[in-house]
Amino acid sequence: MRTKRLSAALSVLLAGALVAGCSSGAEEQTPQETGPVELTFWTWAPNMDKIAAVWNEAHPDIKVTVSKQAGGDEAAAKFLTAAKAGNAPDLVQAEYQMLPSFVAAEAVADIKADVEGVRGEFSDGIWSLVTLGTDAVYGLPQDSGPMMLYYRQDLFAKYGIAVPKTWDEYAAAARTVRAKDKSVYLGGFSTKDPGWFAGLSQQAGGQWWAITGEAWKVGINDEATKKVADFWGGLAKEGAVDTQAPWTPEWNAALNGGKLLTWASAVWGPGVLSSNAPDGKGKWAIAPLPQWSAGESYSGFWGGSSIAVSAGSKHRKAAAQFLSWLNTDAKAVDLLIKEAAIYPAAKSGQKLLTTAPEYFANQPDFWQQATTIAGTARGFTFGPNVNVAYGAYKDAFDKAVQQKSSFADALTSVQDATVADMKKSGFTLAG
């Protein structure tokens, strides 16, 4: 008797939980149909909730709720899982290299019709990152990472080297530094930062992926990228550049202690330098990346992200409206700079940056220089399996550095791994 009563109680409990589950789902939907539109927004930018609060105050009919997420590759995986479960947020922050995988999974919507008005706010290079070279628009650029050369002004003077204008000059300077002081490197080659290498390849004119119609073309080992790989391969082989892994305590110490004289990095570098190399304050400066041919001025992107509208969102128009405001409205972009500490992708936003970062007090025109460089950054189309290509890059180049073997061969193996994975996933490949 008693066991029966217990099981009856249990089944009531379970049924109750199910009903509660269903009813809470229904509650979520009712206000969306009648009252103001509710949008959820996944982002890892700091203080985005404060910026959304400004929007909410001015737009009582569209309420944006920010859920702060962790950034990185896992954020992309989490969004794709949520999209699969039909549980995706309306708006999602997507790193540029992750956006194509969202598009391939049909997790984000084409918002071209809703954002055409703000096209002029962005440079062509940045815009190509959200169109993937197609006619559609899969998001609005939020922040960008144009690459530049960070260098130690004081130590350049000490070793008697000039800021390299071309990569040839860079190589010569690297050898000079090694000849003068065995404990110091001009710069390093990173096997851990495929995004960094992708940025340098963009500068050289590399086109790793391209899409025509439905067919993808993979060009990771194209001529331009090969040139970049061979250049660094040569320097690494003769020991002219540092090949230790960055982002380690040893690397931080080298950066901090003046053992690394340059760092080819992106516009977000000041944040890293100020936390990882605090002793270098006032000693670093920026210059454009060395060029492949004298007289050129090109750069690439390393990092940066866009905001996309998920395909499952019931309020695409409202979401696009918020997006346009967030990334192009003068007040919103100003908040993005001040609260979220980003380097805005919008051209008008870049002009709002006037006071150089504290760390770069020695270079008062820091932002003016950065903006000039940002305008020279070349575009790039990322493919749907960047994570595979990046993983292969780390493996292949790690091995190449250890065995002092050819970087061009390593590049070919990255290309092969990427193509093989795309074939396996059922993408159509051209030629």
């Binding site: 008693r2 589950g21 979520e28 859920s67 702060k68 962790a70 899982t81 977000w268 944040g271 940066g304």
Partner: protein, 298 residues
């Protein structure tokens, strides 16, 4: 993961029969191995302890085990981060681990007791399936569980983390083994002859005897949920509901524009292990009862 090490119970008789010299010789090697193991486990803790006292500047520049000067500043910064959300995460973690481990212990003990002491149709099948369940890592289940709970409309709620933690095959297995060993059939028989119903037997005879086992299961589950990362990471979207592990991870993976807040993460990690240590120190004494409890003459 903190490992629960039970003191090996050496039998008195065996010790007496061994000649003295031999015992010493054998004792040295295990002690050395254990000391090495303790060093291996404690060294990272020492590092966290030292690193959490360092300011951002000191963290990567000073000696790894030298104390710094910024502990109080770090704690203040961490408490100020996003209006003190760290303490919200701490409360969430305590809720997930406390309630989850309690429910899980209750389910495991009931199931284990039934599997050990009752004969019913399909008992062995159920047990075999459970053993199979132990072999499936929880990590593999996280995504299917997410899809399931999303369908039930429970994703991104406290239930999303609590429900999957309740059923834990290994704890049931442990409870069954413990019940089989700690509750003599004779005791249950005697109770039945005296006219006690099954519920009363469970309450008065079985549960007190299983208490040390319950503490073990509770602690196991508490630590497992406290340290769990993937399940809450997938289940929860709203950072007001994050546990410490996922919350601290958002400080680490801040995106490229922001420096990772290493010093806050390390201080947060230190603060997050303090409740675990306190719990272990207070619960430790319950383990001792298993020597005296349940002794019947057989």
């Amino acid at each position: 993961m903190t490992a629960i090490a039970e003191k090996p119970r050496t039998s008195v008789a065996a010790e007496k029969s061994r000649p003295r010299g031999v015992r010493r010789g054998l004792g040295l090697a295990p002690t050395a191995v254990l000391l090495l193991g303790a060093l291996y486990c404690l060294l990272p803790v020492c590092w966290v302890l030292a690193a959490s006292t360092k300011t951002r500047g000191e963290l990567f520049t000073s000696n790894a085990f030298a104390p710094g000067t910024g502990l109080l500043d770090n704690i203040a910064d961490l408490s100020a981060y996003r209006d003190g959300i760290f303490w919200q995460w701490m409360a969430n973690t305590a809720l997930y681990a406390g309630v989850g481990a309690l429910l899980s212990t209750a389910v495991s003990v009931l199931a284990g007791y039934a599997l050990a002491k009752f004969r019913f149709f399909g008992r062995d099948t159920i047990f075999t399936v459970l053993i199979g369940g132990i072999l499936v890592p929880a990590v593999v289940l996280a995504v299917p569980q997410y899809l399931l709970l999303a369908k039930a409309g429970l994703a991104n709620t406290y239930w999303a983390v609590l429900l999957p933690s309740i059923l834990h095959p290994y704890s049931i297995y442990l409870a069954r083994i413990y019940a089989a060993a700690a509750i003599p059939d004779a005791l249950l028989e005697a109770g039945r002859i005296d006219g006690a119903g099954e519920h009363r037997l469970l309450r008065v005879v079985a549960l007190p005897l299983m208490a040390p086992g319950m503490v073990t299961i509770f602690l196991f589950q508490f630590v497992a949920i406290w340290n769990n990362f993937l399940l809450p990471f997938i289940m929860l979207a709203d950072d007001e509901r994050f546990p410490l592990t996922v919350g601290l991870y958002t400080l680490l993976a801040t995106g490229a524009n922001q420096p990772a807040l290493y010093n806050l993460v390390i201080t947060g990690a230190l603060l997050s292990i303090i409740p675990l240590i306190a719990l272990f120190l207070t619960m430790q004494r319950y383990w001792r009862t298993d020597l005296s409890g349940g002794s019947v003459k057989s």
